[in-house]
């Protein structure tokens, strides 16, 4: 929200509801919005974004009990509370994939998930692929095939690959590209990333 909007004391919700500006045409549409707004305002009254909630989840095989604010994202919880900084938040808007973790066997952008929504779920982060100080075969493949340059996107790439291999043990290169399309690499290590995943699938 910009400085000026706040100064005038108008929230986007009230603005839309009141003037209907930006909603062209049907008054039915406006009244539906108004109804939805009322319902959402109801919810807003019930849940304060800074309220504290207890969560219980499994992270890398370990049970974790914690108290988090309602508006804490999963990536913030992982990095700031659990101190697992392998997972990154390069855009924090669900557009780059550097925050990819596994939640109940699925690759998820952890910046786009609330920590409270991870309650009773199983999370795996890049650290969870390790066995003590040893890296696993997927990580080894990235090392061998040089599937990285600066490495900032690597944890996200590897978790996305891990999720792919959980559901498709022998992906084609086209399937690898499709599965990894949500993970940006600005250094452009893509050809080697494809090779790394392909190599990992062989073993």
């Amino acid at each position: 929200m910009s400085n000026e909007e706040n100064k005038k004391g108008i929230s986007r919700r009230k603005f839309l509801k009141g003037t209907g500006a930006g909603v062209i045409g049907s008054s039915i549409l406006i009244s539906n919005l108004a109804k939805a707004d009322e319902k959402n305002e109801q919810l807003e009254k019930d849940v304060d974004s800074k309220s504290i909630h207890s969560i219980s989840l499994t992270v890398n095989g370990k049970k974790v009990n914690a108290k988090v604010k309602a508006n804490t994202t999963l990536v913030q919880f992982i990095r700031d509370e659990l101190k697992l900084t392998g997972t990154k938040a390069a855009c924090n808007e669900g557009q780059c994939g550097s925050c990819t973790v596994i939640v109940n066997n699925q690759a998820v952008y952890s910046c786009h998930m609330l920590a409270v929504d991870a309650n009773n779920k199983e999370i795996i982060t890049i650290e969870g692929l390790m066995n003590g100080e040893e890296i696993n075969p997927l990580q080894e493949a990235f090392k061998e095939k040089d599937g990285l340059q600066c490495g900032f996107c690597s944890p996200g790439q590897i978790m996305a690959a891990h999720a792919l291999l959980l559901r498709n043990k022998k992906p084609t290169k086209a399937e690898i590209k499709e599965a990894m399309a949500g993970n940006l690499c600005r250094c452009g290590a893509y050809p080697h990333i494809i090779e790394s995943v392909f190599e990992a699938a062989k073993n």
């Binding site: 990235f142 600066c150 900032f152 690499c185």
Partner: protein
């Protein structure tokens, strides 16, 4: 001491410098052509791969300290304004807000070549810094920023380059930007001599670095000493700027960067955020972390200037170029910078007559910063496009036309190159992509999807230069540590330096630890830019290793009581040539020393006098253009390059892939968009500013046509970071023309432009 100062001439991008540099007195001989290298050139895995794939690599983004506070920046919502009043009373009410910097109470620190301040009451672009708040948490800081009340006097703005060109009355910056002009021979005469003339106009958009790791710093005071962790390509630039801005001795500032998540030129200089964090940290007596968000990454930390390039080429019927005219302009934002892009026209081919003019205009936008081969990427696209147009008008094959105008000497001053394998690159690349067999006449063939082939040449510097130093420590157990104040930004510096030391001392790379990026413990090393790291620091590392070997030999001679010429060395063992049983390994040598660590320091030698040092290459692209959707799909890129010796084939291939992907992004996807009416940045995130994804990845072949270049430095290698990206967009644009028979002259080549071009062609 075994070094001396000399006057060293070298090019730093397009600026010829003559500076004093410290170089070794006795210079190490390059490895001879027939020497079998055991470590250098091998495709070794990255030394830092384990840290990066395990997630244990700590970036500045990850760094923290106990008691750390978080700083956030308030940025101007307006493109041009003067701040009349700042009221922070509401913002600082929250007890979690610890400190604030505004133009009012911040030191009067100069910024932008003295044309502005660290925090200035005159804001010149949407994103310009106004204030900085430090708080217990990021959320506290962001909420506090929103409570700062500011009274602006809003001024008229200019963000449209064409408007800026016409209207210099919108005084954005007092510092005058003078056009740069270069003349050779006589352009008019040259044009008169020509049998054919082609003339065209090209344009490219502003591109933004957008490395994945945001710009960020973590700072911590310890009394008067300041510790700075920064995501940087230049630890020394950061140290020196911070020290001078804070008015403290440089020796009080220590900058550390072990790993960083990409820079591409945007992180070569010290950021305002680092200085602000240091000032705030001193105020509150706690460590401070400041991290830019993706919007700030797109607004305020640099970009590749846009370009509008009016080009004209005159040539004779036999294909020889008689004249080149380049008149280009672009924008470098609201502060002094440069949008020049004429170097490819100036240096690629033989041409006796040329006039090249580069003009830079201010607009109310973030200032430019070097971005992977500044000037060259946009310049090569346009110039190589018009070269193709000239070839076509002459009825010559594009490669044949380029070869016809090949110059064996530097066309500026007629000096010889240390090596130039451009023609070999043409041949190898054309062969690999099957140019002759595959390439048809432009626009040939029916069908919805049309295939085309195109190519472009590459020239850049990349020879490196002194000064750069490396310290080598050898331990009693035959393990070693190479220490240098340069940076590995994902380029593989840790690895190649270990390989070089391994080669000389014949010890395995796993026994060599490389320490970089710490102004507190490392000697000066090259910045990680300009494709100069490997050719500057590599030779310094070798020098240190050769000195170590020499030192050990003298010790072995003394211990074995033989003269040095009677000794042989192999894999950690000295032995007598006459009596094989007389040996001394590290353990025996160190057993005689009163120390467990030997130390040597190496320095980068001087560049050879009287030579031009350049990298060359050619990239070939195969594209499919869908004439219904306008989408361009790059199917195959062949990159053939002359870069001297290959240091590590695995990391080299990766670097070339990366450059090609970035070039592809520049050609087809990336565009910074500012709404000219409001002056606000629209591409504030990675959805709107489109980076290449794995889906866009073509088949890529990387061919290195060069072997060692023994004139360049003692490891025979040139840099590759920028050569990798320079010709890609030109090759793709030329391929698109070949596919559909109509030329797209404005980058990025988005589907709407293709469809409009096809429509106008059919009318």
């Amino acid at each position: 001491m075994s070094t001396k100062f000399i006057k060293s001439k070298f090019w730093v991008e397009d600026i010829k410098e003559e500076m004093m540099a410290e170089v070794p007195i006795s210079v190490v001989e390059p490895w001879q052509k027939d020497k079998e290298l055991k470590y250098v050139g091998k495709p070794e895995s990255r030394k830092d791969a384990y840290d990066k794939v395990s997630g244990t690599a700590e970036y500045t983004f990850d760094k923290s300290f106990s008691q750390i506070a978080v700083a956030k920046t308030l940025r101007s919502p307006y493109p041009n304004a003067v701040i009349k009043k700042i009221d922070v009373s509401e913002a600082i009410k929250n007890k979690n807000v610890l400190g604030i910097l505004t133009p009012d109470n911040c030191k009067d620190n100069d910024w932008y070549s003295g044309t502005s301040k660290l925090l200035d009451k005159k804001v010149r672009y949407n994103g310009d810094e106004i204030a900085c708040i430090v708080a217990e948490t990021e959320q506290d800081a962001e909420e506090a920023l929103r409570l700062i009340k500011i009274e602006y006097e809003i001024l008229p703005h200019v963000t449209d380059l064409e408007k800026a060109k016409l209207d210099t009355a919108a005084k954005i910056n007092d510092h005058e930007l003078k056009p740069r002009e270069y003349n050779r021979g006589n352009l008019e005469e040259g044009l008169k001599e020509a049998d054919i003339i082609v003339e065209d106009k090209f344009s490219t958009s502003v591109a933004v670095h957008n490395p994945l790791e945001p710009h960020c710093s973590v700072v911590k005071w310890d009394g008067e000493k300041l510790l700075v962790f920064d995501s940087t390509q230049g630890i020394w630039a950061v140290r020196d700027t911070v020290a001078s801005q804070l008015g403290i001795p440089a020796s009080n500032v220590r900058v550390i960067k072990k790993y960083m998540g990409g820079g591409f030129g945007g992180k070569l200089e010290c950021g305002k955020y680092t200085v602000m964090a240091a000032l705030l940290s001193k105020k509150i007596g706690r460590p401070v972390k400041i991290v830019l968000d993706r919007k700030e990454m797109n607004q305020a930390v640099g970009n590749r200037p846009s370009s509008v390039q009016e080009l004209k080429i005159g040539a004779k019927k036999d294909g020889s170029i008689t004249a080149i005219s380049h008149n280009a302009y672009g924008t470098a934002g609201a502060f002094p910078g440069s949008a020049g892009c004429s170097w490819p026209a100036r240096s690629l081919y033989k041409c006796p007559n040329m006039k090249l003019v580069d003009t830079t205009y201010y607009i109310n936008a973030g200032k430019d910063r070097p971005f992977r081969a500044p000037g060259h990427v946009q310049g090569t696209f346009a110039f190589e496009s018009i070269i193709d147009e000239a070839a076509e008008k002459l009825g010559m094959d594009p490669i044949e036309f380029r070869v016809k105008n090949f110059t064996a000497v530097d066309p500026d001053w007629n000096g010889p190159y240390t090596s130039k394998l451009l023609r070999e690159a043409y041949i190898a690349g054309a062969d690999k992509i099957r140019w002759k067999e595959n390439r048809k006449k432009a626009g040939f063939g029916g069908g919805i999807v049309k295939t085309g082939y195109g190519m472009a040449s590459q020239i850049w510097w990349g020879g490196g230069a002194p000064p750069s130093y490396a310290i080598l420590k050898l331990n009693w157990d035959g393990s070693a540590e190479l220490v240098s104040g340069t940076q590995d930004i994902g380029t593989g510096t840790y690895t190649i330096l270990a390989q070089i030391v391994a080669e000389v001392l014949e010890i395995p790379t796993r026994k060599i630890n490389v320490v970089l990026g710490d102004t507190g413990v490392c000697p000066f090393g090259a910045m990680s830019g300009g494709s100069m790291t490997a050719p500057s620091v590599g030779p310094a590392a070798r020098d240190a290793a050769e000195k170590m070997l020499s030192k050990l030999k003298s010790a072995a001679a003394a211990i074995l009581e033989l003269s040095e010429d009677k000794l042989e060395y192999s894999e950690g063992v000295f032995s007598s040539k006459d009596d094989r049983s007389k040996t001394a390994d590290f353990s025996k040598l160190f057993g005689h020393f009163r120390e467990g660590v030997l130390v040597t320091q190496g320095a980068r030698e001087a560049n050879p006098e009287g030579y031009a040092i350049n990298t060359f290459g050619a990239q070939f692209a195969k594209v499919d253009v869908n004439t219904l959707t306008g989408k361009v799909c790059v199917k195959h890129v062949v990159a053939a390059h002359d870069i001297g010796r290959v240091l590590n084939r695995k990391t080299l291939n990766n670097q070339f892939h990366g450059g090609i992907m970035m070039g592809l992004g520049f050609a087809l996807l990336e565009e910074r968009v500012i709404d000219n009416y409001t002056g606000k940045l629209l591409t504030t995130n990675l959805l709107d500013y489109k980076l290449p994804t794995i889906i866009e990845t073509p088949e890529i072949d990387v061919i290195i046509v060069s072997e060692e270049d023994n004139k360049v430095n003692n490891i025979g290698a040139k840099g590759i970071g920028e050569p990798a990206m320079i010709p890609t967009a030109g090759a793709i644009a030329n391929a698109v023309y070949n596919a559909i028979g109509v030329r797209i002259k404005d980058l990025p080549i988005t589907p709407d432009k293709v469809l409009n071009a096809l429509a106008s062609k059919n009318n």
